[in-house]
Amino acid sequence: MKIPERRRRLGRAAGTVGALLLATALHASQQTPSTAPATDTTLSVAGDVARPLTLTPAELKAMPRTTVTIVDQGRDVKYTGVLVGDVLARAGASLGREMSGPALSTYVLASAKDGYQVVFSLAELDPAFTTNDIIIADTVDGQPLFDYQGPLRLVAPHDKRGARSVRMLQRLDVVRLRK
């Protein structure tokens, strides 16, 4: 994965309307936190969050969708999924207005089924703080991910190398260094 090229689909609403929709969605999610058992196809969010959760593929599909395009070996490849920031918000991580003080020294450990792990700062996953568009993808070019990639893949489209685009993503652990 090289030379990320931001071509985010504009299906995601922006501005006041979008914020209201997102707030409504988050409110709904707070009322019905996911308690699905962790499996090979689910995503767990744990650690220093208000509402640790486990999301099924169907629950992820129901969240606002974002498409990012990366250039992979000379051709455009489109990954579609959910902003990591939206998932973290649903788990009650300190984002948006809370992104100050200890939140700025908080990191997120992304772990894959095969043991691979990478780290992001919480701030770089916060859509209100940066425009990194880092997503948890479940489709590539409109198709399900391959077995060796999925069912979920974290895609960091602005990284110059693909090493943090974790294949077979299973878990996000939020770790606050300053309590």
């Binding site: 070996q73 000379g74 198709q143 077995d147 060796y148």
Partner: protein, 387 residues
């Protein structure tokens, strides 16, 4: 003087032929790549645009034993189509019987190879590489004498070549040159592009049952952390050092070469000379044993394996990597490859169950492009039906 007069006469005849309409104008025709889906355009060096005529000429030269001094070998002697353009030997054997230190590399999709040989980071153009087997004497391969005049005379005697050289290089009054021989050979080699393996049908065409469940499990193992095969054999070529049109240089620069712990001899050189890898070029101690990661496409038909063909089977290759380096107990090459001081950090060893081994092998076998092995576009034109 006689040569000058001949050249003038030839040029005049050529111009007359164009005027009379019996020769092609000095324009090159377009070549159609027909690239597999997902494959980028190959990088073609300036000064050697692809044309059907050059590819056709190159194909004839590639299969012509007149390219060796003793007329015993052609390029195809060490690059057989049925073996994905390798030769089945541990190490190649030249036209005079001299044994090459290295295993013949596959030419399938070679137009995407960022570097062309096992251990020379600077040999990146097929036009340049062709000169090595033609004129190299260490070892002797085709055994031609520089500057190649005898070869050109030999080719010029053949009326078919007179027509083909004129068609391939229409702007040149005297197209019989060594440069043009290498341009044509390189053009043919670049045209050998194919990706019709079961794995391609599964991965690119999304035909779920194109590969077996075992091969699908093997794919997951291949791309998983404990095994990390993909770290060196990556991308659509499943190789290191892939290049194509528009590719940006890696941020850290350079091409990947790896010491996999195949040997660990005592002394200054841990790999047996002359096969010391990139060290042969750089003379840097840290480059001892560093070789290119070759493509894994068609790997089931390109054995024996490794830069010196010293592992006979894919099972043996898996044993080597599972051990994190090969141990040779006796003989002049004895040593524990696992402990080679230059060994790549990626080669750490792993535990492989019998089931995982079978899955790996199934996956590697799924990379074989059977159509390529008999594709008439790449076959010997001198023996083709109707010739």
């Amino acid at each position: 003087m006689r040569r000058t007069i001949a050249a003038v006469v030839a040029a005049a005849a050529y111009v007359a032929a164009i005027v009379s309409g019996t020769a092609r104008p000095a324009a090159e025709s377009a070549f159609t790549w027909n690239l597999p889906r997902g494959f980028p355009a190959p990088r073609v060096p300036a000064g050697n645009a692809m044309t059907p005529e050059k590819v056709d000429l190159g194909r004839h030269l590639f299969y012509d034993a007149r390219l060796s001094a003793n007329r015993q070998q052609s390029c195809a002697s060490c690059h057989e189509q049925a073996r994905a353009f390798t030769d089945g030997r541990e190490r190649a054997v030249g036209s005079t019987g001299e044994v090459h230190p290295r295993n013949s590399m596959s030419l399938v999709n070679v137009g995407y190879a960022g570097v062309l040989t096992w251990g020379n980071p600077s040999l990146t153009r097929l036009e340049d590489q062709a000169l090595v087997p033609m004129f190299g004497d260490h070892p002797i391969e085709l055994g031609l004498a520089r500057p190649g005049t005898a070869l050109l005379e030999r080719l010029r005697e053949d009326a078919r070549y007179r027509a083909m050289f004129a068609a391939a290089f229409p702007a040149e009054a005297a197209p019989f040159t060594i440069d043009n021989v290498t341009r044509a050979l390189a053009s043919f080699e670049r045209s050998i592009i194919s990706a019709r393996s079961p794995y391609d049908r599964y991965h690119t065409d999304r035909v779920q049952d194109a590969i077996s469940p075992a091969a699908r499990r093997g794919e997951i193992l291949f791309f998983s952390q404990p095994f990390s095969c993909f770290r060196c054999h990556h991308g659509f070529m499943m190789a290191g050092a892939t290049d194509f049109e528009g590719r940006q240089p890696r941020a850290e620069g350079g091409v990947e070469f790896h010491n996999t712990g195949l040997y660990n001899l005592a002394g200054a050189l841990s790999y047996p000379p002359p096969n010391t890898g990139v060290y042969e070029i750089t003379q840097k101690a840290e480059d001892v044993g560093r070789f290119k990661a070759p493509t894994l496409r068609n790997i089931s038909v390109t054995g024996p394996y490794m830069h010196d063909g010293s592992i006979a089977t894919l099972d043996g290759v898996l044993d080597h990597y599972a051990a994190g380096g090969r141990t040779i107990a006796d003989g002049p090459h004895r040593g524990i490859g696992h402990d080679n001081p230059n060994k790549s950090r990626t080669v750490r060893g792993f535990t492989l169950t019998p089931g995982q081994r079978a899955d790996f092998i199934a996956f590697l076998n799924a990379l074989t492009d059977e159509e390529l092995l008999r594709d008439p576009r790449f076959s010997n034109p001198w023996t083709a039906p109707g010739r």
